[in-house]
Subunit: 494 residues, 2 copies
């Protein structure tokens, strides 16, 4: 992996100065066009061995480019707000917006490499983590990002020499710490692990560039040119290619499916409703105060046709909790800050901390429901969304979030009754719009999309509960009960 | 202050149910119109003695209103991200956006009251803090917010009774802790301190409502109606009144001012420039690694006419630092999330953590420069901005931020030379637009605005440095030197 980086690259100062002038102007212009286009973010991951010039090259890019549209994030110890969320949360919140260039000094590769060198994780765990990373990067690239990964390499002798040189210069001596020298001892282990990591994560959509770190001029020119070329090429492309290209869904043979199989006539009477409501709400109130919930969080997703009773169900769940403990997120149009990011970003930012709950009234599933049916995104986009969503929820679950998803199913006649009732009730009129009537006409297509969604995204860690919702009372009790039983299982086990 | 809250208010269940139905519908409709109008946020501060029904009333409001557009924030121990910023930062980040209703359970009053009861702060410090709070609330109200403050009161016996009742009910027993009973012992102290706090902060723009907490029905109706009435009244008002009304600036008698007094012919030669640049950059590089800087932050503001050299100066300062340590914030058009908040919000969100720096290429001073000159805000708005900005910077400085502000002054002829040069240089053409030429025609008005700004916002903790910038080299050295000397004074003192 590192062979070509050890042959001894060097660029003399005269050549460098000549090349630099043209490169700088070209980079500035590329950055300007990137900003004007405003449709893709550029993310540079700068990793590699200590002393290989990572900081120097970042500094060089700041000198070449307009630094007002650059940002650099380093990821030291996570803050407590970060620790109480999935490990990837800190990277999501630091992603550059479309039109900007962001550099991660250290990145999602740092922890896996470090943990494997220390033998804190097995080879199998490492590979699982790398698989997640590859999938994440594919998602970013498919969402339009340009992801450039640089590994700064030095031979063992080269590293020793660089550290000594840095230490001699009073302006850089501070950068050489005991840790730097310690790292020299684990040089071979790092080469081993990094070599494996780079091979496995050297994907078609986000390949690595190995940079020989020994010569400043060579290193800076290499990275600067790679950045320039990548931006220019991407800006010239009409559309981002999808990695991997998703296959279309198989056509259905009959009408039997998880929704058509439901018996929507189920109902419960008022008396039983009041009794069960009190029972499950009381139980939920206790469960969210369980001491183990202090290191857990709760994510509830509510989806269903218009007027399926999502809002009413959310209120009954929320009523059992303290408003300081939960947030209800109604999915409205994305803000412009959200539009400048991958579609999942606006949900990542709502991920609750430990001890808290977030209830989504509609959710990231919009991608495979409304966006699919209305054609707001391309077929490749919603096809790849199934696995992207599974990955997202897997991350949530891995970090301690308890995830439940509810599809509230009503039939077409019931929806009509509710629409008419809303029109007649003064304070509910704003709940019914022309759009609701338009969506109703596409009933079958929405149902098909819902069936595909449930089939493809119901996982052990984040299951769908399909809820017969013609009777609102029945639906609310079924939902409350599902939440309680899941919480009980998770919190009281062992 | 609490007399009327102890006369024994109560509403029987029958009356309550009758009133509730109408109130609920009216509240829902008011909330809907609030959202449609989208021009004001509603902030409820819910404070008071333990057991006085704060949680119950919040819960009641969630039942009456559409909970998807409500949020409730509680403020326990600050997180480490909050601790490294001004105390008000955590409240700023939690402010509801326009069109939404946010409740703070506990608020900026909690710490001052607590600290005074514990005698951790003097009466004078308390009053200083209350003065800041009053000014903050005035700013929020002037920015369009509806700020409603509720103090939930109970007599000493009433509190004892409520705590016992809560403790008896298994559904609420968890809320009564040893702290609750301990608070009963400090009942008199709380009444004393709270009485004073409420009197001093009972302003025309954000008055307190004292709520007798002993009867659930009465308490909920009172708060519900107060909220309804306040929203309806504010939505009916064409414009938010300014508190307090700002007086216009006195007209100038002559042309002598801090900018006209400058000698713009000052310059330094290349040789001295290179020497001094290396000297001050080296010094700055050391200063930002000083151990005391780990509990400090650096905020630099750069203002000046177009082509005054702000960008170039920022680059020379930044070059001395590690890109992981600083952020350059160019002030572009606000995003829609930023437009839904007070004008200072988008700068609050960029406040650096300890050990970090933020450099603003244009800043919150846009309010008293471009917004004033171009008429983007009303005269009252920019007149009140001087003290709002002073308050903001005071908060920054109090929390350990080192704040420096630079006005780069060039003359009109120099600007013309630079515009022309930019037009001729291929990679700088994008730096010159029609707007720059338009702004140039308003030269005098911008200069007047700058003079007023410098006179009114240069403070000991956040001074303006006026920089003769016809010679770019001179300007850069003067700025670097000012930053170094200030850092040195702050970090190396004592």
């Amino acid at each position: 992996m590192f062979e070509s980086a050890e042959v001894g690259h060097a660029v003399d100062n005269k050549t460098f100065r000549k090349e630099e002038e043209a490169l700088r102007i070209a980079l500035l212009q590329a950055q300007f066009r990137l900003r004007e286009a405003g449709r893709l973010p550029v993310l540079l991951l700068i990793s590699g061995v200590d002393g290989a010039g990572k900081s120097e090259t970042i500094q060089q890019l700041y000198e070449w480019l307009d630094p007002r549209w650059l940002s650099t994030m380093a990821f030291a110890e996570p803050t407590d707000e970060e620790r109480e969320r999935p490990p990837m949360w800190r990277y999501w919140r630091a992603l550059p917006a479309k039109g900007r260039i962001g550099m991660f000094a250290g990145s999602w590769y740092s922890a896996p490499i470090h943990d494997r060198i220390e033998r804190d994780i097995s080879q199998a765990t490492l590979d699982t983590q790398l698989d997640s990373i590859n999938r994440l990067e594919a998602m970013l690239v498919n969402e339009g990002a340009l992801v450039l990964k640089f590994w700064f390499h030095l031979s063992r002798d080269g590293q020793k020499k660089r550290l000594k040189r840095l230490e001699r210069d009073p302006r850089t001596a501070w950068r050489v710490t005991q840790t730097s020298w310690d790292r020299l001892k684990t040089y071979d282990a790092l080469q081993d692990v990094a070599g494996h990591v780079l091979r496995v994560s050297n994907t078609a959509w986000a390949p690595w560039t190995i940079v020989d770190g020994s010569d400043d001029n060579y290193r800076n020119l290499l990275v600067g040119r790679a950045l320039l070329e990548a931006i220019e090429r991407r800006l010239a492309e009409p559309r981002v290619p999808a990695y991997p290209v998703a296959a279309p869904l198989a056509r259905r043979v009959d009408d039997q499916n998880v929704l058509s199989a439901l018996d929507l006539s189920v109902q419960i009477d008022d008396e039983r409703y009041e009794k069960e409501l009190a029972h499950w709400q009381g139980m939920l109130a206790e469960l969210v105060r369980h001491k183990r919930f202090a290191r857990r969080s709760l994510v509830l997703v509510f989806e269903g046709m218009d007027a399926a009773g999502k809002g009413g169900a959310i209120r009954r769940v929320a009523a059992a909790m303290d408003p300081r403990q939960y947030q209800i997120v109604p999915v409205a149009a994305p803000t412009d800050e959200e539009r400048a990011q991958p579609y999942l970003w606006r949900f990542w930012r709502q991920v609750p901390r430990w001890g808290r709950a977030t209830m989504f009234d509609r959710s990231w599933y919009g991608r495979v429901l409304v966006e699919r049916v209305e054609g707001f995104c391309s077929e490749e986009d919603w096809l790849r969304a199934y696995s992207e969503i599974n990955d997202f929820e897997h991350e949530l679950a891995e970090s301690g979030a308890i995830v439940l998803k509810f599809w509230l199913q009503i039939d077409k006649a019931e929806q009509l009754r509710r629409f008419r009732a809303r029109e007649k009730t003064a304070h509910k009129q704003f709940k019914i719009t022309q759009e609701d009537w338009r969506n109703r006409k596409k009933w079958t297509r929405y149902q098909d999309a819902a069936v595909d969604m449930i089939d493809r995204t119901s996982t052990g860690a984040a299951p769908w509960t399909v809820v017969e919702a013609n009777d609102k009372r029945y639906a609310r009790i079924k939902i409350l009960r599902a939440v309680c039983e899941r919480l009980e299982k998770v919190l009281r086990k062992g």
